[in-house]
Amino acid sequence: MVTIEIDGKSYQAQAGQKLIEVTEANGIDVPRFCYHKKLSIAASCRMCLVEVERAPKPMPACATPIMDGMKVFTRSTKALAAQKAVMEFLLINHPLDCPICDQGGECELQDIAVGYGNDTSNYQEAKRVVISKNLGPLIATEMTRCIHCTRCVRFSKEITGVPEMGDPGRGEHMKIGTYVEKNITSELSGNMIDICPVGALTSKPFRFSARAWEMQQHNTIAPHDSVGSNIAVHTRRNKVLRVVPRENEAINEVWISDRDRFSYEGLTANDRITSPMIKKDGTWKKVHWDTALAYAVDNLKQIDSKSVGALASPTATVEELFLLQKLMRGIGSNNIDHRLRQVDFSDQDQAPLFPYLGQAITDLENCEAALLIGSHLRKEQPILNHRLRKAGAKVAVFNPIDYEFNFPVAAKMVVAPNNWVSNLTGIAKALLGNGLIPTGMQKLLADSEVTEEQQAIAEALQTGEKRTVLLGNLATSHPQFATVRALAATIAKLSGARLGYLPEANNTTGAWLAGAVPHRKAGGEAVVEAGLDAYAMLSQNLKAYVLLGLEPELDSCTGSASCLEAADFVVSLTAYKTEAIENYADVILPISLFTETSGTYVNAEGLWQSFGGVVNPTGSTRPAWKVLRVLGNLFDIAEFDYVSSEQVRDEVQALVGDKKPSNTAGWQVPTCLENMASDGLQRITEMPIYSGDALVRRAEALQDTLDADVAGIHVNPTVAKQFNGSEQVQVNGASLPLVLDERVPDGCALIYAGQIAGTWHGNVEVS
């Protein structure tokens, strides 16, 4: 600790800190543009000049390390004169277009110019004009306003890991940008809008829609990935206009992913349904809530409860999922599930309390070695990816596709899905010298051979002390998930690593805790007779279905809604009305989306985060928990008289108690470690980043990004030869454009979800 004096007062600070960090911590205002606590120091704006005793010239506070006994004056005549002069320089080329600038009213330059600037400028000459380049559908540019603080350039290099922004040119001719016109590809790019201190980079979807002073800020939780990023929603006249991050060091630091930032556009999509509807004799009719609810209940009552199935989206809140399972169990059915993209449920009884990350999110930042199994982490969970990237760990990846990562990959294996088991076995075998595992498993491993690649992964995983093995979405949806999980657990055990899951959706963990699984009640208590899992429900024709916030033809790995079409009665609690829903549903109960309801999400590390409604529900939609409560009442289910979502949450929380998940306990040893047979072209399916749930699928700007451009059947050039250069390929009866993609292994075809009907795995018929 050192003692320094700022403006006559003494402060204690850590040696090595920069002056601006000390002023920041003690609430002393020092103006700045280029300094950002999460970025490296550039000292390029010179706005933070302060007077330091015995220094001949004013010093930039952001780049001056503190020294014991240092005397600093932030408001002395010398400091203020220096700041005023710098301000005048910064304004030389800045246009006076605040009235039409979206940043006006929340602009750092505007604020500081008023606080520290001069009334007039000595500069009389012409200002420079920079022609802006299009950076894609998310960020609007007006580079004439740029003051060259280089925050976006440093962000692009240091945070996104894919340097796309740069500062080509020099002196007056320096133009911040991409040099060549291209869309920014980073999935965190929206943060550039926040860090830009002027109006050079602004939000394109938000463009001109409101002024900062007109909006109200409401705190809530992001509804997409399992991070549970803290966000603030800005509204005006009961309409959500934009989403910005809220700082939370333990979760999302100061960043959010583009998906969390721009998905709000889906809230007002054209196919939003605002009043209850029932289908009678093939035609849809708008009805009152009472009629619709009574119609749903009357029809469901006529069907044997064992042939009713409930499918819920894991993006629903804990309250909604809990009430849905309570409703189903109340009418005597355990057929409830949210695991729409899972195929192999054989070891579900041994599964942990919920798919736990195995560590706190901040722990990822400190890990020294990691193995990713079946995860395109960068696009699945951008914030977790950023944490792992920050760790600078030795990361090994085991994927079906040769994904590009924004950090160095120490060892990688690209393995077709049918060969996963033998290859994971090899990795486990390579680690076998390390410790004890169940004898059953040892016997199974005994016969396998270890290849060099497997050895490399094993070696990468043995770096450092803190290690982790993470199972991603592609592992969860693998047809041999139980075996993959057992092998991952073995690998983790042998390497002394923590095993972690990367849950798909924002509330996958909450769904497990709320009991939205066929084999466990809320709080993880096992049921006597497990119900049907999601895959079974969607492949065996049940008589009736209840759907919560779901479009199974897009959300489920069966890729079709044929079972629903065949069913006698389908109740859909949905916010949107699509042609498919009209086809199979008999009652549509319109529900509110995440900004219109109160609720709770549980993130991957098991943190419960509750939030309140931000705007009023659209039209006569109702929060799903209220709809489910009334359904429960109509079914006369006991103890269903909740008056608030908090009451529901408290009940779930009481049921969960202090139970903690354990990712290592009780692993079932697989009976054999055999690969799947495969003779044709295997399908690999990835859920594109901007298609994961109903809301984000309707966010227009996100759908225009490069990441959403996923049409086609991706095969590598060797496989493509069999199509004799044809542009279109018939896949399972549908025609898809052929895309050459060297990331795809031999014998495989990558088809992104949502394009063709049919299951996500197995062989595809092509012609």
């Binding site: 009235p99 039409i100 006006g104 463009r207 001109f208 829609s209 409101a210 002024r211 002073w213 007109e214």
Partner: protein
């Protein structure tokens, strides 16, 4: 003593005469009554009457939808919605002044960076219901077009003081 004084005053109608003296003075004084509506009082070029929106000489509307007038309006009489035009420029899609709320303080005119919203010399307007007094964007622009010459003169007269 005082009672006698008052008696004396009222006996000789002194107060009445005093009052009539004032009346008499105004009777022969210069007349300032204006025969409205046949005659009108002179107006300042800063007169704050009914609002109008102005255009540039090339016909382009001046308003850039910065919303400063909306923000500064103490009576919350202004409502603005913004849209991006096809050429990328910022324009209002809705600009309404509720004259029943307006207190004619002139802050909107003061705050406008492009002299788009102005208060004209017109104070004679009426409506049969309150909706008639809701000035829409097209009303304001049409009114501005009508009075453009006068507005130009007034702005010119005001310019030395700005």
């Amino acid at each position: 003593m005082n009672a006698i004084k008052n008696l004396f005053k009222s006996l000789f109608l002194l107060e009445l005469i005093k009052g009539l003296r004032v009346t008499g003075r105004y009777l022969f004084d210069r007349k300032i009554t204006v025969q409205y509506p046949d005659e009108k009082t002179p107006q300042s070029f800063r007169f704050r009457g009914r609002h109008a929106q102005r255009r540039y000489p090339n016909g382009e509307e001046r308003c850039i939808a910065c919303k400063l007038c909306e923000a500064t309006c103490p009576a919350a009489a202004i409502t603005i919605e913004v849209e991006q035009r096809d050429d990328g420029s910022r324009q209002t899609s809705r600009y309404e002044i509720d004259l029943t709320k307006c207190i004619f303080c002139g802050y909107c005119e003061e705050s406008c960076p492009v002299d788009a919203i102005v208060e004209t010399r017109v104070f004679e307007y009426c409506g049969e219901n309150s909706n008639d007094l809701l000035m829409t964007k097209s009303d304001l622009l049409a009114f501005g077009d009508e009075l453009e010459q006068q507005l130009n003169v007034d702005k010119l007269l005001d310019s030395p003081y700005r």
